[in-house]
Symmetry: C2
């Protein structure tokens, strides 16, 4: 019998309780023992919930209960969640979380603490919600040098960009729609400014390249400046606009990472990733390119990943899984401005001027303004030249 305590009875916490209840018999069959939800820690009471009788308000009951094997942290943020996670690990309990902020910012220290206490700290649900991503990268691609990893890591922004294409509405209108459907927060900054995608690409890079990448080191651009005009124009030319987090390992072993909206060609497997879905593509030196696709958020999908980690923690109770990465090292970090890249530009500068500044460009459309894709060159060089064209729109191009 595995005893579990859930911290935080919000959407994901409630989903974990529901999955443990609904699929309990099946999980017990696969694991060879029962998984029992013993406590739910929250500030509030939930008298109407079928799990209301499990709700407690004092974390020390969990910390001090020798029966509790696994603590599931679904509080979010990096304050209370950080304290409780440290205390749970220090008390010798395995911890499973969906909290990307905590893992991105304090993951290295928490994994170190877990190592000292010989317990597991697992966080599959922190990236890509229900999509299996972190474990496949670590286990199934273990024979590969990872060369690059990128993804559509935020469902809210992908929903907004999809609506701009499919419904022909502006960014602001699509955002209000997302808010009314509960896909976007009332303060949507963390999503639309790219901060959420930034935390996720950091966690992916930590694992894939074995070295900490702190979010504040990652240049991050959001989608709020994207004009409907550009989304529509590039769509007609066979491209989609997607917000990507991307990390690339250079031949010198240095890793360059950034978050920015990109043009993706319609024949790329990620072009069809619509609405709130996420996808992560990994390029390894043996496997080539593999992609993982699915629901990047949501109550039951996220709970699916959390409960899989609970099962994995139980299976590795005595022999913990070795997960970790080296500390941040500025000398090991590459410069994302030096990555070779093509840029999309829309400019009122004339054709002759465009061909002078970017000979060999691909012209997507031409009227009063020209929309073009530059040839491939170091991003800083492309940006420098582009400035001379005073572009009204500028976006990265994938590939």
């Amino acid at each position: 019998m595995i005893n579990v305590a859930v911290l935080g009875f919000g959407t994901v916490g409630a989903g974990v309780a529901e999955v443990l209840e609904k699929n309990g018999a099946l999980i017990a069959g696969r694991l060879g023992e029962d998984v029992r939800l013993k406590y739910i820690l929250d500030i509030r009471d939930f008298p109407d919930s079928p799990f209301g009788h499990l709700v407690i308000h004092d974390f020390s009951l969990i910390e001090q209960d020798p029966e509790i094997d696994v603590v599931v942290e679904t509080i979010g943020g990096a304050s209370v969640a950080w304290e409780y996670t440290r205390r749970a690990l220090a008390a010798g309990k395995h911890v499973v979380t969906s909290n990307k902020e905590l893992v991105a910012v304090h993951g290295a220290g928490l994994l170190q603490l877990a190592r000292e206490k010989n317990v597991n700290y697992l966080f599959e649900a922190a990236v890509g919600g229900g999509i299996p991503v972190l474990r496949p990268i670590q286990q199934c691609l273990a024979a590969n040098e990872i060369e690059e990893i990128y993804g559509i890591l935020n469902g809210t922004t992908n929903y907004i960009l999809t609506r701009m294409v499919h419904a022909g509405v502006s960014f602001g209108e699509a955002l209000r729609e997302a808010q009314s459907l509960g896909y976007a927060e009332q303060d949507p900054t963390a999503d639309v400014a790219g901060y959420d995608a930034c935390r996720k690409i950091c966690i992916l890079a930590d694992l894939a390249f074995g070295r900490e990448l702190p979010p504040e080191q990652v240049p991050t651009e959001g989608i709020s400046d994207i004009a409907l005009e550009d989304v529509t124009l590039v769509e007609r030319a066979g491209w989609r606009v997607k917000l990507l987090g991307r990390a690339v390992r250079g031949v010198d072993g240095r890793v360059s990472a950034y978050v920015a909206p990109h043009l993706i060609h319609e024949r790329h497997p990620m072009a069809g990733v619509a609405d709130v879905f996420n996808a992560v593509l990994v390029r390894g030196n043996a496997v080539g390119e593999v992609m993982f696709y699915g629901p990047g958020a949501g109550k039951l999908p996220t709970a699916s990943a959390v409960v899989a980690d609970v099962i994995d923690a139980a299976r590795h109770r005595t022999k913990r899984k070795e997960i970790g990465w080296a500390p941040w090292d500025a000398a090991a970090a590459g410069d994302p401005q030096a990555l070779p890249m093509r840029l999309y530009l829309r400019t009122a500068a004339g054709r002759a001027r465009v061909e002078e500044v970017f000979p060999g460009s691909e012209i997507l459309a031409e009227a009063e303004e020209i929309a073009l894709i530059t040839p491939r060159m170091a991003r800083c060089e492309a940006e420098k030249r582009a400035a001379g064209l005073r572009p009204c729109a500028k976006l990265c191009v994938l590939g």
Copy 2:
């Protein structure tokens, strides 16, 4: 130090040697010990290969060498490979394979033998080549009741179907092209008749539903009868033709499986899977739909999955991974003809007759012939009614 013997120095065997060599330092770092390729068993000698000095011709040297921890079987087929696999397991060695035929036909017995000998029998590379599929299904989706699984499981047929669309060539012409590129065998039957996809959907169903599904129980249709006319016509109407292996768990828990070409809507995430790429979609009762995409074959991609299994076997040397399924039971099998489905039909019967037989059909094109998609109903019922229209073409429709 982990000592490995590779059986069969064909494409995949050579890829395994190459990956162990190229990424050896990295693998040793991740695993915490070296992996050494000690023997390569083959009938032939390879004097010009950098691994030529490892080649031996007598399996009993491997069987009797107490240093050998892991045997990699890349012989293929179910005769010699079956014998050597049994002898290796019986000798207490972990076995890793890319051999889908052997796993689909004899997997249950070999897993039983592995259990008795307390060793691992792992076969990630047998489905989807380099794509992580089997391990994510078992571990990352362990909290889910799997409801459905389907995929583009054969790269050769997907290449042919992609060429028919993109180059406008007939099946025969696309096949000859695939043969000249080495994507199709000189005798392409196993691929184009769907047998290869059948073995793979059987392995996926074995694992996802926990019960053996023998290939001979799975109705299997290939792609050789598909006319360019239909591929082109449905493309214009927003559909793609893909060969799918599909297994569905009914509400009564019975599993129905079949292999057949399907129309897939262009907005489906699998519609963009082109050329020799594969993809597997899994629907779980918590996670919803997740998809895995990547190279379904090839030297290094397949070797990537094989070597990941070697690493996993090494990690689970003392505590083996519990993998297995219940024996085939006709009473637990569903009838694929009873699955609700829409059919695509092209027929010279007039509009009035079509509307009489299938009221509410979606008409894709209308000239001398009508191309339509029927409403959803049990497949046997749709087939019965369709016979009355004497269709010149008939295909399944996904969704």
